[in-house]
C-alpha cells in the first residue's frame, strides 16, 4: 500500500508498503506531491472554496493518500477528492474507495485503488474558513460632475493560516486572475474600471429618512447623493457587490479632492446605486403644515384635508433638481398626533403644485416629487419657490 500526505499546514503524503491502519505510526516512506494548480473561488457570499490540483504517484493496488490540514480551518466534511480523467492513451483507472478519519488529528486518509502504476492528476476541493473577501469602490468625478470613473476593488484577507504560491481567483464578478497569496496577507486587486459612467447628482429632502436641519425653524436637511445606474456602457452586465465607495472630484489642476464616502449596497443590473456624500447647505427647504382640516363623515369616521407647504431657495449658481420625499403614513400620524391607528392611510392627491409623483419611486406610502430650481439671480438673490402638497386622507377613525 502507498500512502500520501500533504505537508505544511496542508499536506499530502504517500506511504509505500502494505500496512494496516493500526501500524501506520511506524517506519514509512512518503512522497510529497506538490500543488500544480490552485483555484480559489470567492463567489459564494460566505464560504470560500479552494481547489488544488496535484499529481499523485500511485502503484497498482490500494494506495493510501493522507491529507492533513493542521492549524487551518478546513471544513473536513466539505473535502472532495476528484480524479481527473487521464490522457486518452493510458488506460489507467483510479477510484477512491473510502476515507478514514484518524482520532484527534486534522487529517484524513483516502484509500485509492489504481489499476496500474502511474501518476494521477487529482483535484482536491474544500471549504476554507478564514479566507474572506470584500469589495470597495473608488470613483473620480469630472469637473462638471456629469460623469465619473469608477474602479472596483477586491480585497482578499488571508487569515486561513495557509499560503498559496500562485492561485487563480474568482470573486463571482469580473475576470479571473492569477496572484500569489502569502500567509496572513491582504491582497487588493482592481477588478474592473468603468470610465465615463454617467452620474446623476441629486438633492433630496425627506423628513423621515434625513430629518431636519433645524426643526424649530422647519428647515429640512438636504443631503446630496451621487446616483449611478448599473446599466449602459461597460456597466449593467453584472451586479455591483456591496462595498464602501470613496468619491473624489477632479479639481481641474491635475489633482483631485475627496468629496465623501458611503457604503454602497448590492446593486443588481438596472438598479441604481445611491451614494450619500454630504449635506448641501446651499439649498434651503422649509416645510410647514399649512392646512389641517377634519371633516366628520359619520359616527367616528373622518376625512382629513392636509396641505404641506415647501419654501425652497437655491443659492447655487446652477439650476438643480430637488427631490421631495414624503411618507403619507408619517404625515397622517403627525396630524393625528396622539390618536394614531394601525391602518394604512387611504389618500388622494389634491390640486397642490405637487401633483405628479414619480411613478417608479412612489407607492402606497412613499411619494417622490422632482422640483426644478433655477439658479440664483445675477444680483445674488435666490428666488424663493413655494410648492404645496395637498392630500385628502379618507376613511380615518
Amino acid at each position: 500500500m502507498k500512502r500520501t500526505r500533504w505537508l505544511y499546514p496542508l499536506g499530502i503524503l504517500l506511504v509505500c508498503a502494505a500496512v494496516p491502519l493500526a501500524a501506520m505510526a511506524r517506519i514509512k516512506l512518503t512522497t510529497l506531491p506538490v500543488r500544480e494548480r490552485v483555484e480559489i473561488q470567492l463567489d459564494h457570499p460566505q464560504s470560500t472554496l479552494v481547489e488544488e490540483e496535484r499529481i499523485v504517484p500511485l502503484v497498482k493496488g490500494i494506495n493510501q493518500v493522507d491529507f492533513s490540514w493542521a492549524n487551518t480551518r478546513i471544513d473536513p466534511n466539505s473535502l472532495i477528492l476528484r480524479i481527473l480523467p487521464p490522457e486518452a492513451e493510458t488506460p489507467f483507472e483510479v477510484k477512491v474507495l473510502s476515507v478514514s478519519y484518524p482520532p484527534s488529528e486534522t487529517a484524513l486518509i483516502w484509500a485509492v485503488a489504481a489499476s496500474a502504476s502511474g501518476t494521477a492528476r487529482v483535484r482536491i476541493s474544500y471549504v476554507l474558513g478564514g479566507l474572506g473577501k470584500d469589495f470597495h469602490y473608488r470613483a473620480t468625478a469630472g469637473r462638471d460632475e456629469k460623469t465619473l470613473e469608477l474602479t472596483q476593488w477586491l480585497r482578499i484577507n488571508n487569515n486561513a493560516n495557509e499560503a498559496y504560491e500562485n492561485a487563480r481567483f474568482w470573486a463571482g464578478v469580473g475576470e479571473r486572475f492569477d496572484k500569489p497569496l502569502g500567509l496572513s496577507e491582504t491582497k487588493e486587486v482592481q477588478l474592473a474600471r468603468f470610465a465615463g459612467v454617467p452620474v446623476r447628482k441629486t438633492y433630496t429632502c425627506d423628513p423621515v429618512a434625513f430629518g431636519y436641519l433645524d426643526e424649530a425653524q422647519d428647515k429640512l436637511n438636504v443631503p446630496m447623493h451621487y446616483v449611478i445606474k448599473n446599466a449602459g456602457g461597460s456597466l449593467g452586465k453584472e451586479p455591483l457587490p456591496a462595498g464602501k465607495a470613496r468619491i473624489f472630484q477632479d479639481d481641474g489642476k491635475g489633482s483631485s479632492a475627496f468629496l465623501g464616502e458611503d457604503h454602497g449596497k448590492f446593486t443588481p443590473p438596472d438598479d441604481e446605486l445611491t451614494l450619500y456624500l454630504g449635506l448641501a447647505r446651499d439649498i434651503a427647504v422649509r416645510r410647514t403644515v399649512d392646512r389641517n382640516e377634519r371633516q366628520r363623515i359619520a359616527g367616528n369616521l373622518y376625512r382629513y384635508d392636509v396641505t404641506l407647504k415647501y419654501e425652497i431657495e437655491n443659492f447655487k449658481d446652477t439650476p438643480v433638481t430637488l427631490d421631495i420625499a414624503e411618507s403619507v403614513r408619517q404625515i397622517r400620524d403627525s396630524i393625528r398626533s396622539g390618536e394614531t391607528n394601525d391602518l394604512d392611510p387611504e389618500w388622494q392627491l389634491g390640486n397642490g403644485t405637487l401633483r405628479q409623483p414619480d411613478p417608479d419611486k412612489s407607492d402606497a406610502d412613499q411619494l417622490l416629487f422632482h422640483v426644478d430650481l433655477p439658479p440664483r439671480a445675477a444680483d445674488g438673490q435666490a428666488q424663493k419657490q413655494v410648492h404645496t402638497l395637498r392630500l385628502t386622507l379618507n376613511n380615518e377613525w
Binding site: 500500500m1 502494505a18 494496516p20 491502519l21 493500526a22 483555484e39 473561488q41 463567489d43 459564494h44 457570499p45 464560504s47 472554496l49 481547489e51 497498482k60 493496488g61 490500494i62 466534511n77 466539505s78 472532495i80 481527473l84 483507472e93 477510484k95 477512491v96 474507495l97 473510502s98 476515507v99 478514514s100 478519519y101 484518524p102 482520532p103 484527534s104 485503488a113 489504481a114 489499476s115 483535484r123 476541493s125 471549504v127 479571473r176 451586479p239 448590492f266 443588481p268 443590473p269 438596472d270 438598479d271 359619520a298 359616527g299 367616528n300 369616521l301 391602518l343 394604512d344 392611510p345 387611504e346 407607492d363 402606497a364 406610502d365 379618507n394 376613511n395 377613525w397
Partner: protein, 477 residues
C-alpha cells in the same frame, strides 16, 4: 492492538463453585474472535455486536469469564449462544460478581471433551453511522451527479477488526439509553427498570438481526496486487419498517477512528430548477431549489435516502466547482421528491410593493343616540353615537421579479392570508390551503415580471369566514 473485551476460559478450578473464581492465583486462556458483525442504528446510540469464538470444552462444567472494562456495553444485553455443536453443550447460569464491575461468568455444561463455536452478542453504544451526500450539478443545471456516502464512527472504546458492518436506516424505539445502561451495575438496572419492558425491546431488536454473521471470504487486509480493486458494494435490503445496508466484505474501524465509504454514485440524474417564495418553509427570501426525484426514471429509487448532510456544488465550465451550499436532507422514501434549497440567488430580484390602499363597505355600530335642540328653535336634531364596526380593506400589491440570470426561470409564490380574504387577480392562482394562495410565473432570461393582485380583507363586523376566496378580476379601483 488494544482489545478491551476480555474473554477467558478459566482452565484451573474447573469443577469448583463460582466463589473460588475470585481468588488471586488464576490461569486463563483467551480464545480469539472468529467473526464480528456490527449492526449500527443511526437513530439511536445503539449497535448490536455479534461475535463468534471457538472454545475447547472439557466434559463437565466449564466456567467462562467475559469482561468489558472501559467500553460502553450494556451488561443486561450480553448473551451467550452455542452455535456448534447443536446439542451437548448447554449454558447453565450467568453470574455478575459483586466485586468486579464489567465482568460476568458463565457456567457451560459439555457432555464430552470437544471444540465448540459460541456466539456472544451484546448492545454497545458509541458506534454510530451517518449518511452524507455530495451533489455536483452540470454547468447548465439540467442534471446532477449524486454521490451518497456512509460514515461509521467508532467511539465505543473497543477496536473492531475485520467486522462485517450493517447499517440500519430507520427510527427504532428504545426505553433506555445504552450509554446509561453501560454505566450501571446489572443489579441496579434490574431494580430501576421494568424488566420485561426492557427485555421486549431487546428481543424485538435482536430478533430482527437474527441472521448470523457469515464468515467473510473477502478480507481487506490481505490485498495482494490482484486486479483493479473495486469499491465496496453496499447491499441494501428492506426489513420491516427499516432498511439495512450491508457493507460488502469486512471493515476495520479502530476506536476513535471513523471511516467513510461510498454508498452509491449516480451520474446524469435529471433535475430542474425552481425559485420559491414560501416564508413558512424557507423564511423571507426567495430561494432557489434543485428538484429531483428518488425514482427509477431519475436513475435513483433503489433505496430510501437516509437523513444526512448534503453539500451541493455546480461544475463550472473551467472544470472547477462552485460551492452552492449545504443542507440537511431528511429521509427520502423511494419515489419521493428531493428538494435541495440553495438559498437566495442575488441574480434574481424579488420585490413586493404596496401600490394602493382603500376601504369600503363600512358598517357602523350604533351605541346610542342623543337628541339636541337649539334655544329658541323648535327643530330637534338626533345625533347617533356610532363607531366603525366593519369594513373591507383593499390593498393592491405588485410583485416584481427581475431575472438577471442567463436562463429563463420559473417562480412559485405562496402567501398566507389569515382572516376573511378575497384574492383578486388575473394570475390564475390556486389555493395551497384554506388561507394560502399559490401562483406561478416564468420570467425570461434578463426579463422582468410584474404581478398585480388585490387583497380584500373583510375586517371586524364584515368578517364572516376564515378563508381565502379566489376571484378573477381587475385589480384596483
Amino acid at each position: 492492538m488494544r482489545n478491551r473485551l476480555g474473554f477467558c476460559l478459566a482452565l484451573l478450578a474447573v469443577l469448583l463453585p463460582l466463589g473460588v473464581l475470585a481468588r488471586n492465583v488464576d490461569l486463563a486462556t483467551v480464545p480469539s474472535r472468529n467473526t464480528v458483525q456490527l449492526t449500527i442504528y443511526n437513530s439511536e446510540d445503539l449497535t448490536l455486536v455479534r461475535e463468534t469464538r471457538v472454545v475447547t470444552f472439557k466434559q463437565g462444567v466449564n466456567p467462562l469469564q467475559f469482561s468489558w472494562a472501559n467500553t460502553l456495553i450494556d451488561p443486561t444485553s450480553v448473551e451467550l449462544k452455542v452455535r456448534q455443536p447443536k446439542t451437548g453443550v448447554e449454558l447453565l447460569d450467568t453470574t455478575y460478581p459483586h466485586d468486579r464491575p464489567q465482568t460476568l461468568y458463565w457456567n457451560v455444561q459439555s457432555d464430552a471433551n470437544r471444540e465448540a463455536t459460541i456466539e456472544i452478542s451484546y448492545f454497545t453504544s458509541g458506534i454510530s453511522w451517518r449518511a452524507d451526500y455530495l451533489a455536483i450539478a452540470d454547468p447548465d443545471e439540467k442534471a446532477l451527479h449524486l454521490n451518497s456516502f456512509v460514515r461509521v464512527d467508532n467511539r465505543s472504546g473497543e477496536d473492531y477488526e475485520n467486522a462485517q458492518v450493517r447499517l440500519v436506516v430507520g427510527t427504532i424505539n428504545l426505553v433506555e439509553k445504552i450509554a446509561q445502561l453501560a454505566k450501571l451495575p446489572v443489579g441496579r438496572i434490574e431494580d430501576a427498570l421494568k424488566k420485561n419492558e426492557l427485555q421486549e425491546v431487546r428481543q424485538k431488536a435482536a430478533r430482527m438481526m437474527m441472521a448470523p454473521a457469515p464468515v467473510s471470504a473477502a478480507d481487506s487486509g490481505t490485498y495482494a496486487g490482484a486486479e483493479m480493486e473495486a469499491s465496496k458494494e453496499i447491499i441494501k435490503e428492506g426489513l420491516s419498517e427499516y432498511f439495512i445496508y450491508t457493507i460488502e466484505g469486512t471493515e476495520t474501524v479502530p476506536n476513535g477512528w471513523s471511516k467513510r465509504l461510498r454508498s452509491f454514485e449516480v451520474a446524469d440524474v435529471p433535475m430542474s430548477v425552481q425559485y420559491r417564495y414560501r416564508p413558512r418553509e424557507y423564511g423571507e427570501p426567495l430561494v432557489r431549489l434543485y428538484l429531483l426525484r428518488n425514482d427509477a426514471a431519475s436513475k435513483l429509487g433503489l433505496t430510501p435516502l437516509p437523513d444526512g448532510q448534503l453539500r451541493a456544488f455546480r461544475a463550472n465550465s473551467q472544470g472547477g466547482l462552485s460551492y452552492l451550499g449545504e443542507q440537511s436532507l431528511k429521509y427520502v422514501p423511494i419515489g419521493d421528491k428531493i428538494e435541495l434549497n440553495l438559498g437566495p440567488d442575488p441574480a434574481v430580484v424579488f420585490e413586493l410593493s404596496k401600490r394602493k390602499v382603500y376601504r369600503d363597505n363600512l358598517w357602523f355600530q350604533v351605541k346610542g343616540g342623543s337628541l339636541y335642540r337649539k334655544l329658541g328653535d323648535d327643530a330637534l336634531k338626533l345625533e347617533l353615537e356610532s363607531v366603525v364596526a366593519g369594513w373591507d380593506e383593499h390593498t393592491v400589491f405588485r410583485q416584481e421579479i427581475r431575472n438577471y440570470t442567463r436562463k429563463p426561470i420559473s417562480v412559485q409564490i405562496r402567501r398566507d392570508y389569515p382572516g376573511d380574504v378575497v384574492f383578486r387577480s388575473q394570475l390564475k392562482p390556486t389555493l395551497h390551503d384554506f388561507q394560502t394562495v399559490q401562483f406561478e410565473t416564468d420570467v425570461p432570461a434578463g426579463g422582468k415580471a410584474g404581478l398585480d393582485y388585490e387583497v380584500i380583507t373583510r375586517e371586524g363586523y364584515n368578517q364572516k369566514q376564515s378563508r381565502v376566496e379566489l376571484q378573477a378580476g381587475e385589480v384596483g379601483r
